[in-house]
């Protein structure tokens, strides 16, 4: 039965539908059960992944594939779901708007992400993308009474819709030239047959732009800082990890695998995008005062590092991307749990609001330092191996110049992360009262920190796991 293979997705959708009805029936102040149910749904889905592990097959007329790569990302996305739900509970319960639909939309978005990573058909990938996007537009504008949230939503929506149209135009051209939307079939068309027509160049650019928009590669990134700043903070946390990871997974399926015959064409393109993205992200982040906006540019820079992996497009580099995403999810989820907390408590979103946090919440401040260290890429955190694998893959394939730009950018990034650390540890707080970390946020913070350290020290089993899940051999 094909449906057994998508049991996790079915569970999430079912729980989401139940919550949708629940949100309509129960009053706002009685919705405390919603995050609990949502978390339970994600966890049940995680369990449901287990039976399919290790299998390789195609289902639904080769629209969806079951392989290690898909399972890997399925697990990552479900973990993202759990972490974001836990981080959101406190924040959403304080909003005027009913929290119910929030979890529903989150679950729909996660479902879309899973389909993006497990489809080998351009149509299904696009449908997954739209499911993520449409849910994200609403999530970005979830604080309806907040003009900034409105603005984030409308900007994200307009840009997203245009990007989607461009992507579709590219897809239609690919379909026109190959006569199929199935990536496996496209991959089997001979190099010469694909390499000829100039229109494929146009199609390729449109695909890169469409997906580049979703994962915020420069110069398709301009929506991201605005949307990140305006969106409710838990949604920002989600944006910075979920859709990005899904977009990258889909890009791995499309470029190094599906369009491998055209590698020479898009490799340099991704290399240039990677260089520009890293540099613009880091340089702009230097001058930010709002931590959400800073993290937006930071995550743009991180995508730049990952894009090196796409440019290199070897087995090693694709594995490196997978490791990077795994590491990055925990880092950002943990980091954002604190940003959410400070925002929720009304302490603020500015970097100066973090002054003296080391005295107000010592454990949390220390954990944040761990995350910053990991984002910079200092050893014995997951971030180090993430960067190291990308770096090594680039050097092995002769992309020395990209590796050097990565190293330089990594050094630049110390500048803005240090700004926050300095505020937390050296500046005196305006108000020295302790900040108590609620249990759910504490759990996310601790999970993130432990995973970051564990991946940084005992990375071997995870590397082996990724080796099993790898798409390229």
């Amino acid at each position: 039965m094909d449906y057994l293979y998508i049991l996790p997705e079915l569970i999430i959708v079912a729980v989401a539908l139940v919550l949708l009805v629940g949100a309509a029936l129960s009053p706002k102040d009685r919705q405390g059960y919603m995050p609990v149910v949502a978390t339970a749904g994600f966890l049940a889905a995680l369990v449901a992944v287990y039976p399919a592990l290790g299998q390789e097959t195609n289902i639904f007329g080769r629209m969806i594939t079951v392989d290690g790569f898909a399972q890997f990302f399925k697990v990552i996305f479900l973990i993202v779901g759990v972490l974001v739900t836990l981080s959101s509970a406190g924040y959403m319960s304080k909003q005027k708007t009913s929290g119910g639909e929030y979890y529903v939309l989150l679950m729909f978005a996660v479902t879309g992400m899973i389909f993006m990573a497990s489809s080998t058909d351009l149509l299904a990938i696009w449908l997954g993308l739209e499911l993520v996007s449409i849910s994200s537009y609403i999530l970005a504008g979830y604080r309806r009474e907040d003009p900034k949230s409105n603005e984030a939503a409308i900007k994200y929506f307009l840009m997203g819709a245009i990007a989607s149209a461009v992507l579709l135009f590219g897809l239609s051209l690919v379909y026109g030239y190959t006569g199929t939307t199935n990536l496996v079939d496209i991959a089997q068309i001979e190099t010469k047959a694909l390499a000829g027509p100039a229109v494929l160049g146009v199609a390729m650019f449109m695909l890169v732009a469409g997906f580049g928009f979703k994962v915020a590669m420069v110069p398709f990134h301009m929506w991201a800082p605005d949307a990140y700043e305006g969106a409710p903070t838990p949604v920002t946390a989600f944006f910075s990890i979920g859709p990005k990871a899904a977009g990258l997974a889909a890009m791995i399926r499309i470029f190094p695998v599906g369009l491998s015959a055209l590698t020479s064409k898009w490799s340099l393109l991704f290399a240039i995008i990677a260089a520009v993205t890293m540099t613009v992200g880091n340089l702009t982040a230097l001058s930010q005062k709002n931590i959400k906006r800073m993290m937006a540019y930071s995550s743009i820079a991180q995508v730049g590092y990952i894009t090196i992996g796409l440019a290199v497009a070897t087995a090693a580099s694709v594995n490196a991307i997978m490791f990077y995403i795994m590491a990055y999810v925990f880092i950002n989820a943990g980091l954002f749990s604190m940003i959410i907390l400070l925002d929720e408590r009304g302490i603020g979103q500015k970097i100066e609001d973090y002054a003296g946090l080391s005295q107000r919440a010592p454990v949390a401040a220390a954990a944040m330092v761990v995350f910053f260290i990991a984002l910079i890429g200092i050893p014995f955190t997951s971030g180090f191996f993430a960067k190291f694998f990308i770096f090594a893959a680039a050097v092995q394939s002769g992309f020395m110049w990209l590796a050097i730009i990565l190293a330089v950018n990594s050094a630049i990034s110390v500048g803005y992360y240090y700004g926050v650390v300095k505020a937390m540890y050296l500046d005196a707080p305006k108000d020295a009262s302790p900040v108590k970390v609620p249990r759910a946020l504490g759990a996310v913070l601790l999970t993130g920190a432990l995973a970051t350290l564990a991946l940084g020290v005992f990375s071997e089993p995870f590397i082996r796991l990724i080796g099993l899940a790898s798409l390229l051999r």
Binding site: K155, L286, S287
Partner: protein
């Protein structure tokens, strides 16, 4: 055989650290005895290891596959050879004495338990660094000692001084660490290994050579520059004196700061391939030694005198390694660890009694604190290089190597020997002799308890005898035990030895004349040398220079970024905007001609263009969309032109 159990030496302090951290508070003394017991066992084990190797046992090495990255295997492991054994003994011995001493010094501290846990953790980190058989594990230890150092300098973090100093130390050393890390990566990429013997073999086999090797070696050295407080990254060490004094003795005199010297010694196989890199090591060492010694002559804070002295002596060790005196450098590291720990602990004893670090508030303490005073004087004699104390033998060897290498370096190192004797004489006279300058403090002064003076006496004995193994009196035993390549005894040059002794005695004499007698009016001397005095008194303005350049540099960077933002990014946006406006113009012109006629067409187009032009400023979603499309279109055009 003891060697396969060498890992226990590092593991015990780690266990002790965890035990103290979690259970320490349940005990009356905050669990300090756990740490002391563990380090005592480690010390005994180290002695056994040392004994076996001295008895001719083969060096031991244990490796395992740490990472398996699809064909590429990264090995990790530990190695115990002669150099390791010496370091193990030094580190465990000084750690043990410092832990015992701290029972007295830190008695009643608010975070007593945390202090002991961190101290044990530091010892574990340092031992890991020493036991590592590869650059990667060494780097782990390297970062962990940095972390412990940060925690211990900032032990009294309620005060802004320690908080700032701990940050400064952490950041400054990190600058060097970045270089070290890049160096490690370069060596790995070229030789394919992290292990010291493999990397050295790769260098010897010519897998990396020429300029790249020099760059890699200098990058590795930059890590040592940070950790060992060498010029120009030396500024953190004097500030680190904000930490508790036993910490200064252990971390900032005997062990962690020597890690840089150890790193160079350990990776000597890399440096040996590049005379240029060794030259850099030698010259940086010389410059550091001279600068720090000059500043030390005018410091008024007892601990700062010792801090600058440490920097200067570390420079000496670097000179030793740089000029090819491998044995001499390591030997000086060993003897220095003992007598400098002694001096620091002695100063701690004084500070404990007087609650001040200013030498101008001391004086005449020899009567009140005889044990502290006399052990301090022994340490001074050793540091000044008076025969037969430990420092004489090791310093003499460095001078000898420098003598064969370069006359300028030799001359400068002799000059530093003179300065060293001078500033230490000054410190001793100001602290222990003459009349008390602060009677209130003097009245309350008392000799420290036995758990503080005990370690002083042990270290004083070592400061006397530790030099003999390296002296001709014992047939250069140390040189036979620790050497790079084939052992060859260097013939002693009597004139060098005479110069070393002469410089030391002259320094003591000058110091005595200025501070011990009334022959020189110090005020007049200061007035006469005003510019030099101010220059040295302000520590050669290094902090000011860095503050200025770092802040200035940040501003320049910000200006550049702003310029790029304004001119390049805006320029692109504006150009794109202009393009869009032109399209708009044309279409607008059609609109107007069709609908309204061409009456006020031109005016409308211009104002319309202006209105549209403004839109391409950031914040407007359509300017984002335009950038998006412009990129696709320009990209496609370039792509097709290049001939995709």
């Amino acid at each position: 055989m003891m060697l396969p159990y060498a890992w226990l030496i590092a593991a015990l302090p780690l266990l002790a650290s965890l035990a103290v951290m979690f259970f320490g508070r349940r005990f009356k003394n905050g669990g300090d005895f756990i740490g002391i017991a563990a380090i005592a066992v480690s010390f005994v084990l180290s002695l056994l290891v040392f004994g076996q190797l001295a008895g001719g046992a083969e060096p031991y090495r244990f490796t395992f596959t740490w990472l398996n990255l699809g064909g590429v295997q990264v090995q990790n492991g530990i190695a115990v050879d002669n150099l390791t054994a010496i370091m193990l003994v030094v580190v465990t011995l000084v750690s043990m004495l410092v832990q015992i001493y701290s029972r007295g010094y830190m008695h009643g501290d608010v975070r007593y338990t945390r202090y002991y846990a961190t101290l044990s953790f530091f010892t574990f980190s340092m031992l890991t660094l020493v036991l590592a058989d590869n650059l990667l594990l060494l780097y782990i230890g390297w970062e962990l000692v940095g972390l412990s150092s940060y925690l211990l300098i900032g032990h009294w973090f309620e005060n802004p001084g320690p908080r700032y100093a701990s940050m400064k130390a952490f950041i400054t050393t990190r600058i060097g660490d970045v270089g070290l890390f890049i160096g490690i990566i370069i060596l790995y990429l070229t030789t394919g290994a992290f292990g010291f013997p493999e990397v050295a073999a790769g260098v010897a086999a010519g897998k990396i050579s020429g300029t790249l090797l020099t760059i890699a070696a200098i990058l590795v050295f930059s890590g040592a520059v940070g950790k060992s407080a060498q010029f120009p990254l030396h500024v953190w060490l004097p500030d680190a004196m904000e930490g508790p004094t036993p910490v200064s003795a252990l971390i900032h005199a005997a062990t962690m700061v020597a890690a840089g010297v150890y790193l160079v010694a350990r990776s000597y196989g890399i440096f040996a391939g590049s005379p240029t890199a060794l030259g850099v090591v030698a010259w940086i060492g010389t410059i550091t030694a001279v600068i720090a010694a000059l500043i030390a002559t005018l410091a008024s804070d007892l601990k700062k005198v010792l801090a600058y002295s440490t920097i200067s002596q570390l420079g000496y060790m670097m000179v030793g390694l740089g000029v090819g005196g491998y044995t001499a450098g390591v030997f000086h590291l060993t003897t220095h660890a003992f007598f400098k720990a002694l001096l620091f602990l002695g100063s701690g004893s004084v500070i404990h009694a007087l609650h001040t670090q200013e030498m101008h508030e001391m004086g005449g303490l020899v009567k009140k604190m005889p044990v502290t005073a006399w052990t301090f004087i022994i340490g001074t004699a050793a540091l000044a290089g008076i025969p037969p104390f430990a420092g004489f033998w090791s310093k003499d060897e460095i001078l000898l190597s420098a003598y064969h290498y370069n006359p300028i370096i030799f001359g400068l190192t002799v000059f530093v020997a003179f300065l060293t004797a001078y500033y230490m004489t000054r410190a001793v006279i100001l602290t222990f002799f003459g009349k008390p300058r602060d009677h209130h403090k003097y009245e309350h002064a008392h000799e420290s308890p036995a758990n503080m003076t005990g370690p002083l006496v042990v270290l004083a004995i070592l400061a006397v005898v530790a030099g003999f193994p390296g002296s001709p009196l014992m047939g250069n035993w140390f040189g036979k035990f620790i050497h790079f390549g084939e052992f060859e005894a260097e013939a002693a040059v009597p004139s060098v030895m005479a110069m070393a002794i002469g410089a030391a005695l002259l320094g003591i004499l000058v110091g005595y004349v200025i501070y011990g007698t009334r022959l020189v009016d110090r005020r007049k001397a200061i007035a006469a040398t005003k510019p030099v005095y101010t220059f040295l008194k302000h520590k050669m303005y290094f902090d000011e220079l860095y503050a200025y350049t770092v802040i200035g540099g940040t501003q320049v960077l910000a200006t550049i970024a702003g310029w790029v933002d304004k001119n390049v990014v805006d320029g692109i946006v504006n150009a794109v905007g202009w393009l869009g406006a032109q399209i708009g113009n044309i279409s607008g012109w059609f609109d107007l001609t069709a609908v309204d006629g061409a009456v006020n067409g031109v005016a409308a187009v211009v104002s319309g263009a202006g209105r549209r032009l403004r839109k391409w400023q950031t914040g407007y979603v359509q300017s984002y969309a335009l950038t998006f499309f412009a990129t696709v279109i320009i990209g496609v055009i370039i792509y097709e032109l290049i001939g995709g």
